[in-house]
Every structure is written in C-alpha cells, then in structure tokens.
C-alpha cells in the first residue's frame, strides 16, 4: 500500500514479462489466429522486411499489410531477430503500462497513489494483452501508441498526443474513431467529472488548429510512407484492407465469417455498412460524455474492441485494462459478474474451437464462429455496462425505495 511497493512492483512485472518472452512458449503462439491478425502478424512482418531487403515490393502481393513506417523502422533502426524482438515488445508493453499509470495519476491529480501497482499489474498481467505480445503481434505497439496519445492529451501536450495518434492511424485505420475524443481531451482536463456532468466549457474553435496539426502529421507520415515504398500502393494494401476485407483469415471479430458467407453481389454494400457503423458511435458518445472525454475515449476503445475489422485479443484487452483507471464506476456496474463469466467462457472456447476446426478437424467453422459471437456478446456487455455506469454515476447514491430507470 505504500510507495515502496510501487517502486518494486513495476520493474518486477516488466522483468517477469521479459523472462516469459524468452521462454520456448512463444514459438507455438506465432501463427495463432486469436493473437495476431493478417494486419498484425509477426511472420508477415518478417516476410515483408525480407522481400523489401531483397528488392521485391512487399506491397505487390497480399501477404504484407503492415504500415511502411514499421517496414522502415524494423529494416533499418531496430532489426528483428530472436533476441531483439522480445525486448522491443516488452519495452512497448512497459511503455504502455507506464502511460496508463500516468493517465491514472493525472486523473486523480496525485503524484503517487495506493493503486499504482494494481494498475500496472492489471495491464501487464492481463492475458488478453500479454499473450499477443508474446506472439509478437504488432497490436501491442498499437496499444502503446493509443495510451501514449491519451497520456499526452491528459498532460495537455497537444503536439505529442496528436503525433502519437497520427502514428497510430498509420498502423491501424479504425483508430480514426479516437480522433474526436483525443482532440477534445486536449482542450479539457482529464480529471474525473463523471459524477458532475456539465456542458462543454471550452471553446470548440480551439480544436481547429489542433485538427490542422493532426492532418499535417498524417500527411507528413503518409508522404514518408510513400517515400519508403516508392509508390502509393501501400494505401490500398494497409488501409484498404480494413475497408475491403480481402483476407478472410479467422480472428475473434465479427466480420470474417459474415463476409466469408456473403454472396459477391452484396459484398460492397455490407462493407460500406460495417465501416460506416463504426463511425456513427463517435458523435453520440462524445456529445453524451462531453464532461469527461477520457471516458468517451475509453468507450470508443470498447467500440473498436467489438466491431473492428481485424481485431485480435489485444483490443478487448486494452478496453478491459482501462477499466482500472475508472474505479468510481465500479459500484454502478449492473452485471460485472455476468460479463466476466461470458468472457471466461469465450476466452476458453475460442482457442479450443479454433484448434478443433483447423488442427484436429473434428469441428467445423460454426464452432469457432459461435465462440466469436459469445466473445462479441461479452465485449458488448462490458461496453454497455460501462456506458450505463458512466451515466448512472451522475445521479449518485439513492436512498431506499428509489430506483433509476430510463423512460
């Protein structure tokens, strides 16, 4: 409970993670479909770097869908070998946990709190987060950039937060959803005001230069990516993959089986519907939670966890770990145990049914699809509970005989 605990806990957790990364287990996780998607897989990253170094354009085929920034980073500054990759990924996890810790401290306004070690542990020990990191999926790097963007926004360092968000956008197109809350978080304070909602007191015109700065960073990074590749083909292969879903590799999300069973005639329409569906959550959540944009960002991370085109376990993992920084809503969660049990159910069945379908051949695709539906229900339940609790907290404690309802 005292500060000495915190000083030891964080390095201890990071050291444990590093040891685990060098264990033989990660070899078996390399090709696992829950932990890495075609956009984040480590083998595809290595394949792209190999082709790049041998003069073949990695974007001329369909195997490599990572951002050109990762291509240039890992082929020049940070080579990916058996020893450097676990260190890089552990460092990314440690940075993300530290960023989450800073967000918590800025939210409570205290330099050190008693829950610091708990927060770090909830991030570093979350199996949804450390398993993809052991599998060297680049979704860990995306989580790190997301938390860094939120942390800098909480500190008020707009440029750093917008640059992190622009980098995150280069890695994953659906994270454009986080633009609005991060922009608005830059002009407000992260201190928890869930219990005291009031209309937005900052002027919206202050976001316009920030928006311009964000587009500037995005353009700069896009030009840099085009220079790395030599042609703008990467746009269609990386960002276009989230919009057109060319690769139907199974993952814990809801899109892959839907579009596997889709007839070609309807494919463009439903791709458009699913993509626009992601965008329609931004405005309502930001308007409803205009008193606490950090919470709106948290909810949008939850929306991405459920509805993203190529999710891995990292995306719901980030959402669940971020519950740690909002302890004020815990009393108001309506069904936390149900959510936890559905998650337990789904997280045990997902790898089991995947293996039964693909490795043992005794199950078929429907088994795995059903477990992704249950997983989606679990994430949806967590998201709905978080929204309810965030709104309910505003009403406060009620005495006996009174209930809150919605009309």
């Amino acid at each position: 409970m005292d500060s000495a605990d915190t000083d030891f806990a964080f390095p201890a957790l990071v050291a444990a993670r590093l040891l685990l990364a060098f264990a033989p287990l990660p070899e078996a996780l390399k090709y696992d479909q829950q932990l890495s998607s075609p956009l984040t897989s480590y083998s595809r990253l290595r394949e792209g770097i190999y082709l790049f170094e041998h003069g073949v354009d990695p974007y001329s085929g369909g195997a490599f869908r990572h951002s050109p920034l990762l291509l240039s980073l890992f082929s020049t500054v940070l080579p990916l070998t058996r020893y450097t990759s676990p260190i890089i990924w552990t460092a990314a996890d440690a940075t993300a946990a530290w960023a989450l810790l800073q967000i918590w401290r800025l939210r409570t306004g205290a330099k050190k709190t008693s829950r610091d070690s708990q927060i770090a542990a909830l991030y570093l020990l979350n199996p949804y987060l450390f398993l993809p990191s052991l599998a060297l999926s680049t979704s860990s790097l995306e989580n790190m950039l997301c938390l860094l963007a939120l942390m800098f926004a909480c500190r008020g360092r707009a440029s750093a937060s917008l640059f992190s968000l622009a980098s995150l956008l280069q890695l994953s197109l659906p994270s454009i959803l986080l633009l609005a809350p991060v922009l608005l978080l830059n002009i407000t304070r992260p201190v928890s005001r869930l219990a005291l909602p009031r209309p937005l007191d900052a002027s919206l015109t202050r976001t316009i230069p920030l928006l311009a700065e964000f587009f500037g960073y995005t353009a700069l990074l896009s030009v840099a990516s085009t220079l790395v590749c030599g042609n703008p083909l990467w746009v269609q292969k990386t960002w276009g993959a989230s919009l057109t879903l060319p690769d139907l590799t199974p993952n814990p999300g809801l899109w892959w089986y839907f579009f596997t069973e889709m007839f070609d005639h309807f494919r463009p329409f439903f791709l458009m519907v699913f993509s626009v569906h992601l965008l329609i959550y931004v405005a309502p959540l930001c308007i409803k939670f205009q008193h606490d944009f950090l919470y709106a960002a948290f909810l949008l991370v939850g929306v991405l966890a459920v509805f993203k085109p190529y999710p891995t376990l990292s995306d719901p993992g980030l959402f669940l770990s971020m519950f740690a920084i909002f302890p004020e809503i815990y009393p108001y969660l309506r069904h936390p145990i149900v959510t936890a049990l559905i998650h337990l159910h789904a997280s045990l069945l997902l790898p089991l049914f995947n293996s039964l379908w693909l490795r043992q051949g005794t199950g078929n695709a429907n088994f795995f699809y059903a477990s992704t539906l249950v997983f989606g229900m679990g994430n949806g339940a967590a998201l709905m509970d978080a929204i309810w609790a965030g709104l309910r907290i505003a009403i406060g404690e009620l005495s006996e005989g009174y209930e809150v309802a919605q009309e």
């Binding site: 690769d247 089986y257 579009f259 569906h277 693909l358 429907n366 009174y402 919605q406």
Partner: protein, 572 residues
Amino acid sequence: MKWKYCWRTCCLLALHIVAASGELFEEDLTLRPLRDGKLEARFSFTTLLKGATPRDPQGLAEDDEAQHYTLFPLALGQILREHAVTELHLTLNAGKWNYDHWGYPDEPGVSTGAELWAWMGESVPASLDARWQGLRQSLAGLFCASLGHLDEQRTTSPTLTFQPEGALPNFTYPHQLRHATLPSEHVCTENLTPFLKLLPCKSLSGIASLLNPHKVFDADWHGLGVHVRYREGTGVEVRLAFQAVFDPVRYSPERRRDWSLRSVFDRSIERACPVARANKVRVELPSQASYTISPGPTDVVDNTATYTINSGEEALDIAMQWPEEDSFQYPDTSSAPPLTDISVRRNLKGTSQADARLTVELTNNLPIQVSAGYLEAMPWHLQFYLHTLKAQLDGASRDDLVDILAYTPPVPHSRPALLQAVLTLPPHATLQLTMDVSKPFLRYTEHPPDAQRGWDLPPAVVVPFAFGELSASNDTSAEESQLGSLRVQERAAVQGRRPRRMYTPVLLVDLATPDFSMPYNVIIMSCTLIALIFGSIFNLLTRRFVVVQVDPQSPQEPVPAQADADAGDKAR
C-alpha cells in the same frame, strides 16, 4: 490388280500435289520397352507449312490474308491467325511420370492435367492478355477441355524456364510468354477425337489408326500434346504428339512382358497415310539380349529398329518377345539406379488447415555438380513465407546453395506466386528445401463444388542446365583444357547432357471450408448481435434517466439528482 495400280497412282499424285503446294506431313511412332516391363509409345505427327510466318499482331485490326491449307489443320490454323500466336504448346496428360524408372520422356511436357504456354507478340490494337484469353477459349472449344479456367489466377510468365523452342520473328513489340497450368483437368476420348480430326488422314490410315481410345486411355500414363512453332527460313510447324506408357505385364495372363501392336493397341497398321512423306515406326531395342522382334525391321541403326510402312502390303504388327522368360521379374529398386540426372520429390507436410510446410528434395545422381533452375508457379491457394526458406544438405544448413532469381508475391483472389531460383547440387548429394506456407481462407463463392477434396497445385519445374564445374563459356579451348582436368568418369558424365525440363508430381492442398449451409444463418446471427449492441448503446445514450419511487411507503425525498436536466423525482 488394276485397283492396286490405280490406288498407287492416286497416292503418288496426291504426294506430288502436296509437295508442290508447300505443305509437308510426317508421322512417326517410337516404341521403347522400359526396364520395369512397361512400354513407352510416342506418336508424333508433324505438319510443316512451308514459307509461312506467324501473323503480326499489329495487323490484327485489318483482315487477314487468305490462308489455303491442304494438310495443315484448318481449325488450329484459324485459331493461330486469329490471336496472332507465334509459338504454342498445349499438353493434356493424366498420370504421374516416374522419372526414376522410365527416364526422360520423349516429349518433355509431362505435367499432370492441362498445361498451356504460348509466346505472343505484344500489340496495341488487341492487348496480349485479351488475345491470351481468346486463345484459351478457342482451344477449350476445339479440344473440349476446360481451358477457360486458366485465367489470371493461374497465368504467369516464367521466361527463364520456358524458352521458345522455335524462332520469334521481329515484330514491332517484343514477344511475351504466358503460361498456365490446370492440374485437375482430365483427358479422355472427348479430347482425343478433335485431336485426331486435326490430322490429314484422321485415324483411318497411317500410324494414327493405332490410337484406340479404349486401350490408350487405359495406359498407366497417357497424354496428348499440340506444339506449334515457327522455324525461321522453313515455315510454321505443327506437331501433334501422343505419348503413353503401357503395361503389357498387366494385360498378359502369364505376367509376361511380351508385347505386340495387336496386344497393346488392339489394332495394327493396315495402310500408310497417302499424304505422309515419311512414316516410320522405330523400336528401341533393349540392351540385354534374349528377345526376339518380328517382323524383321527395315533398318537397324544404333540400337533402334526402324520399320517403314508401305501401302499395299500386309498390315504391320510389330511384336517383341522374351521367349526365355517365364514371367517378368521386376528389377530390384536398390540395384536399379535412377535413370535421370536428378530426382525430385515435393511434399506438403502438416496436419493443420491454417499452415503447412512445403518440402522439396532434390537428389543429384551424377558424380559432378549440377546447377538446376527451379520454378514454382503457385496459385494463391498456398502462400509462401519466403523468409522461412531453408536449404539443408544431409542435415547441415546450406542456404548458399539456393539463389533466388525472381519472386513475384501472390495477390489473393487474383495473381499466382512465381518463384524462380537456381539450385546448386553437389555430386551424389540430396538437397532438402523447406518453407513455411499458409493456407488462405476462401470466400463462399470461390470454393469448388466438391470443396472437401481440396485444390490441385501445379507441379514445380526443375531444369538442370549446367553440368560440372564448367561455366557456360564460348571459348572452346578453355573448355577443352577444363575438360582435360576432370577425371575420365566426370568427363563422360558431362558430355552429352543437355537441359531438359522435369516436372514434379502435383500436390493436393485442403483448405478450410466454411459451412456451406449457413449464409442466411450467419448473416442474421451476426446482424442480430450487432443490432442488439447498437440498439442497447443508443437506448442508453438517448433515453432520459429518471428516478422512480418504487416503495410508496418511503418517507424521505430521494437525493436530488445532479445529472441531466429534468431528472427530477417522479413518483409513480
């Protein structure tokens, strides 16, 4: 007697007419007994159109000049002119060619299924790919084979391996190669009938009369081929080939390997084709003695007996017997070395439907180093992880023996992968290549009707092109001195070798299938979940919160609300 003379005069007249008109037809049959008791038969029908040149694709917009053919097959000629094809090779084969026991085939194109490759000149009025598609459709119609499936998902351009066998005339734009394989294509009588219709004598006379579909498609390996090439200074040559490997031991009740034309084909050659300038039957004589061959050959040259078919005499029925053998004893494989320079085996290992490992084993049977070109044109149904390609020589890692020349990555749903590499095989050694591959997941509509069968993957092509440590040098004096420095045995092994294509067997890959009965169910279940979550979230966001008094006895006022305006107490 009178009719016989009349018949002979007509034949001579026909020959003169044909010779004067500039077309030449030759037919040839080669019979080769193999050491495992089988018999290889190769039919070759060559028609030469003297003085003709392939059509310039730049002139496709205008009408073609009139073409008059007497012996040259009109249907094929029209197709070649329509799509301005310079060189064409089509083979339809069934079976697996066993290089180790049967040696090199007389016709090198032994890939299982359909293989079509053509050199065509690029042009502006009609693009090469449009003409390639037209060529495929026309050939599919002509030969009743589903060559229309050789679309962009199977077409590549492996120029290093498939060099033109004839000359390529100088057109405005350079020639390009298009190559496509369909390993799951079958060959049957439906394909043989139009094939025979392309011959001047059809199957009525000459060597083609031996092609009895019942017997020929019962052979262990059979395949037909159409080869068109342009010979500079001579003309356009069309060669129709039929190759088959029969098993006389299987037919004979005493399990003897004696064969005759009557026993193998159930026919004999009654008369020669009148318009054939040359019609020969060549029988390769086995090296060991104690065989008899009847009737006596016209000519015996260099271990090959030649028969010429003359009209008007009795039907030709060649028979070869081994009178001292009771029943055939198969040679012991340990004492029967492979008959080819290198042996190749290719396998797909792994029990998962998500990823697998491709392994290729090449064994060099010669006492000298061999450099071989390796070609893989893999459809996107198997995706390579090229960074995992490892080479091992007898257990030790030797990645330096593989030199990747060109690689085109595959594009899902459209383009196949093309890998061209040069492998260096040390003498009497086995090189093992392994590579991780991933199996993609197809869309519902992309699966074939029998989806659980899997997909046939085309063969890899290996071309041993350089023998010995000699580099390809034009300086004969250097070559002589280098030859002199080799041991006698190695020198003998180097001389006489020429690059010949070898095909590996096809592979079968099973890809994960979705449940085909479920499109409606999947759509409604996924949409239901999405709608549930969407609806609940928007319910929570848009509906007003109110505080409700559930217990009417409760005396106190509820704690005043601090949230949304109007959330005052409302007793019910």
